[in-house]
């Protein structure tokens, strides 16, 4: 019981300080909330280190047991060591680190992301057909926005970029506002539940 009550109490105190600081101009609260944020930054930095150790441990186990595709784990461990140790030893601004980032990591990341265009093109050809009125409206909007996003749209008609902007600014924004406002209300409700101790799912699945 104490394992749940103590974190709940800490959470409630921290949340109360942060909320009050947002609405009241009291120096003590300002200092307290600043201190809490600094703790948050330290915890986040610590979490990054912890995640690296966890990832390394996961892949070491895979290599040791020689599970499916274990050579990829070897590649991952080598990359982690090369990047991590280089950065720790000489700082992230050193030439070796920059070379590694610019010539290995960056091109590979861009290439992986670039591969999606092939799947998008294939999916557009195979699946994007007007099978209903709703699909037709969706497709028309998508085509206008796509054309509005390239100079050709303006070359065909100056109204196309305007129409694309209208879609983004009116129907899109109406939907986005709805999502934004409802999620904000949901966050407030969730925050209140956490604050008064009704919500305990953040301590793990089924925490009661």
């Amino acid at each position: 019981m104490a394992t749940k009550t103590m974190p709940s109490a800490i959470l409630a105190i921290v949340a109360t300080v942060m909320i009050l600081d947002n609405f009241l101009n009291i120096p003590v609260l300002g200092s307290l909330s600043s201190e809490i944020r600094i703790w948050g930054v330290i915890i986040a930095a610590f979490a990054l280190g912890l995640a690296s150790i966890n990832l390394a441990r996961f892949h070491v186990v895979r290599v040791a047991r020689q599970t499916t595709d274990w050579p990829y784990s070897v590649a991952c461990l080598i990359a982690m060591a090369a990047f991590g140790l280089g950065g720790i030893a000489a700082g992230p601004g050193n030439d070796y680190y920059r070379f590694y980032f610019a010539n290995f990591f960056s091109p590979m990341a861009v290439a992986t992301m670039g591969m999606t265009i092939f799947f998008i093109a294939t999916a557009a050809f195979r699946a994007v057909t007007i099978r209903s009125l709703e699909a037709g409206v969706l497709l028309a909007a998508a085509l206008v926005v796509m054309l509005g996003n390239i100079p050709l749209g303006d070359a065909i008609s100056p109204h196309i970029p305007d129409a694309a902007e209208w879609i983004r600014r009116i129907p899109n924004m109406a939907g986005q506002r709805g999502i934004l406002i409802t999620s904000a209300i949901g966050s407030i409700a969730f925050g209140l539940r956490v604050l008064i101790g009704l919500e305990r799912t953040q301590f793990g699945a089924g925490a009661g």
């Binding site: 986040a44 990341a109 093109a121 390239i150």
Partner: protein, 279 residues
């Protein structure tokens, strides 16, 4: 062969042919660049005008939250805006709240500030990465010197000339963020615009842009730039062709190809609809 039969064959074309077409549509404009006429839209123009009216010496805070995967989409805008700020004599504080961001800040410095003869620590500074997301943003804006003991290169922040005048968000005249994910514009609105009233310009990926429109309409974001196109427009404005303008040819051809594929797919679908109904 009837039209319907032909379209049926088109519909069942080998996927590899589509992929080769996509490959060529991207490769040819990259190898053989085509001049793409750019029409400058409101968002880049607004940011450009805002930077133009800032007095030289004003402080521009930049959050480079770009991941390597989105470099082609966002880096061009980041470099163009940084170049404009340097040209205007603004003092720029580069930060990042994403681990990969500092590398792009360094690339911007090497390609813009160093050739322009700008002095590190006087005209610009690179503070580096801070973990903690939105909480870290709030803390940096409250107290730059408390949040950063040293800059990216290990120099004491207290000893850097530009930082003598930059202590809190109150010393900043403009915030520009380049974001490929995370809290993005919403987080900066909460931490920089609402509490301090800072002007905020946001550059995000095309997928992220729609969720930022409510902030622009509310006046919380002064300019919303999205995708490579905004970068190309900004490069056009400052008359400094860069990676975005170079990539617009490939993006244009890829979009045209996808539009054609969708068109073909639908013609084929409707041409064979009657046949499917009979079956």
């Amino acid at each position: 062969m009837s039209f319907a039969d032909f379209m049926l064959r088109v519909q069942s074309v080998d996927t590899r042919i589509i992929r080769v077409l996509v490959f060529l549509a991207i490769l040819i404009p990259l190898v053989n660049p085509l001049p793409v006429p750019m029409v400058v839209t409101d968002a880049p123009r607004t940011l450009y005008d805002f930077i133009e009216q800032l007095p030289p010496g004003s402080v521009m805070l930049v959050d480079t939250n770009i991941s390597a995967a989105y470099r082609p989409t966002l880096y061009g805008t980041a470099e163009a805006v940084f170049s404009h700020a340097m040209r205007r004599g603004l003092r720029v504080v580069l930060t990042s709240f994403a681990p990969e961001g500092p590398m792009f800040n360094e690339q911007m410095i090497e390609s813009v500030a160093v050739p322009a003869g700008k002095v590190y620590g006087v005209d610009y500074v690179h503070l580096g990465y801070r973990a903690g997301g939105e909480g870290a943003v709030a803390e940096v804006l409250r107290d730059f010197h408390g949040a950063y003991d040293t800059d990216f290169h290990g120099n004491r922040v207290a000893d850097i000339p530009i930082m003598q005048d930059v202590r809190t968000a109150r010393d900043v005249s403009l915030v520009v963020i380049h974001s490929a994910g995370g809290y993005a514009g919403g987080g900066w609105v909460r931490q920089a615009v609402d509490p301090y009233g800072l002007p905020l310009a946001v550059s995000v990926t095309g997928v992220m842009a729609p969720s930022h429109y409510p902030y622009t309409d509310a006046g919380q974001i002064i300019a919303l730039l999205s995708d490579m196109k905004s970068g190309a427009e900004y490069e056009t404005l400052i008359q400094r062709p860069g990676v975005s303008l170079a990539g617009m040819g490939a993006q244009t051809f890829a979009h045209i190809l996808i539009i054609l594929l969708i068109f073909l797919s639908n013609v084929s679908y409707f041409a064979n609809r009657g046949r499917r109904a009979k079956k």
